[in-house]
Chain length 213, copies 2
C-alpha cells in the first residue's frame, strides 16, 4: 500500500454492517449502564439517562433490550464476568506468592477507586444494598456472583495454605466468605470517606486472621 | 378518681392542642421516613410515599420540613441517636462481661433483621452506599454517625482489654473501625441472603481477631 492510498482512506472507523451497528450500540449501552450502576445503583437510574449518556436516541432502548429488568440482569452478569476476569488476572499471577497476589488485588482496587474519585464502588454491592427495591429475580443472580468470586478467593487461600503462607487452621471456604462480607463494607466506607484507608484497614485485619494473628 | 369517672373518660387519646398535633405529625413523618430509608435508601424514596404511609395529606410536607434534604438530615441524626442508644443499652449492661455485651448486640441485630424479614438494614449503610447520588452535605453527617458508634465500640473493647478478655496487643481504635467497616458489609449481605449467617460469620472472625486468634 502506497502512502497516497493511505491518505485517501476515509478517516474514522471502517464502515459497518447493520449487524455490527446493532452490536456496537448494545455494547455501548451495557458499558454506560455498568458505569452508572457502579456509581449509583439500579433503582434511581433511569433508562433515559443511560440512553442520553450513550448518545442513543431516546426511545430506542427496547430495540436492544426487553425491559429495564432484563437490562439489569445483563448488567449483573456482565459485571460478574468482568470482575471474575480481574480476580483471575491477580489471583493467578504466578510471578507472585498467593498472599502477594491478594495484596496486588487490594492495591489495584485502591487505585481503581481513586481513579474514579471514590464515586464508583462495586455494582454487586450497590445492588445488594438496594435489594429490597429490586426485582426479586435479581437476588439469585447477585448471590451467584458472590459465590463465584468467593470460590476464586477460596482457591487462592488454599494455594497460600499449601505454600505455608497462612495458618493451617484457616478454613479457606469460611475465610473467603468473610473476605467478601467485609470487603463490600470496606468499599462502601471508602466511597463515603473518599479514602483508601477503609480498604487498607480491612485488608490488614484480614491478613492478621489468615496468619492466625 | 372513681371507677365511674374512669368509664366516662373519652376513649382514645386525650384532646390535643394544635401544637401537639404539629409535633405528633412531625414525629410520625420521621418515624415513617426512618423505616422507609432503612429499607430502601434516600434517592429512590419519594416524599409523596412517606406522606401517604404516614397518612398525612399530600402537599403538607413543607409545613413540617424545609425540603427533602433537610428532612434527610433530620433522619440521619435521628437514626444516629436511636442507634447510639441501642449500643449503650447493650455495651453498658454491667450484668455481662464486655465481650458478652458485644455478643448480645450481635444477637439483637440478628433478631431485628429477622423480625423485618431481612428487608431493613442500616440507614447509615444504605445512605453511605448511595453517597454519590446524595446531597454532598450528607457525607459529614454520615461520617459523624460512624465515628460516634466507633467511639462507643472502642470503649467497650478497652473495657474488654482491661478485663483480660481480649489480647493486650489489640489496638482498640483500629479494631472498632474494622468492626464497623465489616459489620456494614455483613448487614448488606444478610439482606441479600435473607439470612443471619453473614452477621454470625463476621462476628466470629472479629472475635478471633480480638483473641489474637
Amino acid at each position: 500500500m502506497t502512502q497516497t492510498e493511505n491518505v485517501k482512506r476515509k478517516r474514522g472507523r471502517p464502515p459497518k454492517t447493520a449487524n455490527n451497528d446493532f452490536r456496537d450500540t448494545r455494547q455501548e449501552l451495557i458499558k454506560v449502564g455498568l458505569s452508572v450502576l457502579t456509581e449509583r445503583g439500579y433503582s434511581y437510574t433511569g433508562i433515559d439517562e443511560i440512553l442520553r449518556k450513550a448518545g442513543v436516541p431516546k426511545g430506542s432502548f427496547y430495540h436492544y433490550f426487553d425491559n429495564k429488568e432484563s437490562f439489569g440482569r445483563i448488567l449483573i452478569e456482565a459485571y460478574g464476568r468482568y470482575f471474575a476476569g480481574k480476580l483471575d488476572r491477580w489471583f493467578q499471577d504466578r510471578t507472585l506468592t498467593p498472599l502477594q497476589r491478594l495484596d496486588a488485588f487490594v492495591e489495584d482496587a485502591k487505585a481503581g477507586m481513586k481513579r474514579f474519585e471514590y464515586r464508583r464502588g462495586c455494582l454487586i454491592g450497590n445492588l445488594g444494598q438496594e435489594m429490597t427495591a429490586l426485582p426479586e429475580g435479581f437476588r439469585a443472580l447477585l448471590q451467584d456472583v458472590f459465590r463465584d468470586w468467593e470460590r476464586r478467593t477460596e482457591e487462592l487461600l488454599a494455594e497460600a495454605q499449601e505454600a505455608g503462607e497462612i495458618s493451617p487452621d484457616v478454613q479457606c471456604e469460611q475465610m473467603s466468605h468473610f473476605f467478601w462480607i467485609g470487603w463490600e463494607g470496606a468499599v462502601l466506607r471508602a466511597k463515603l470517606d473518599q479514602s483508601p484507608k477503609p480498604l487498607d484497614r480491612f485488608a490488614e485485619g484480614f491478613r492478621s486472621l489468615l496468619r492466625g494473628v
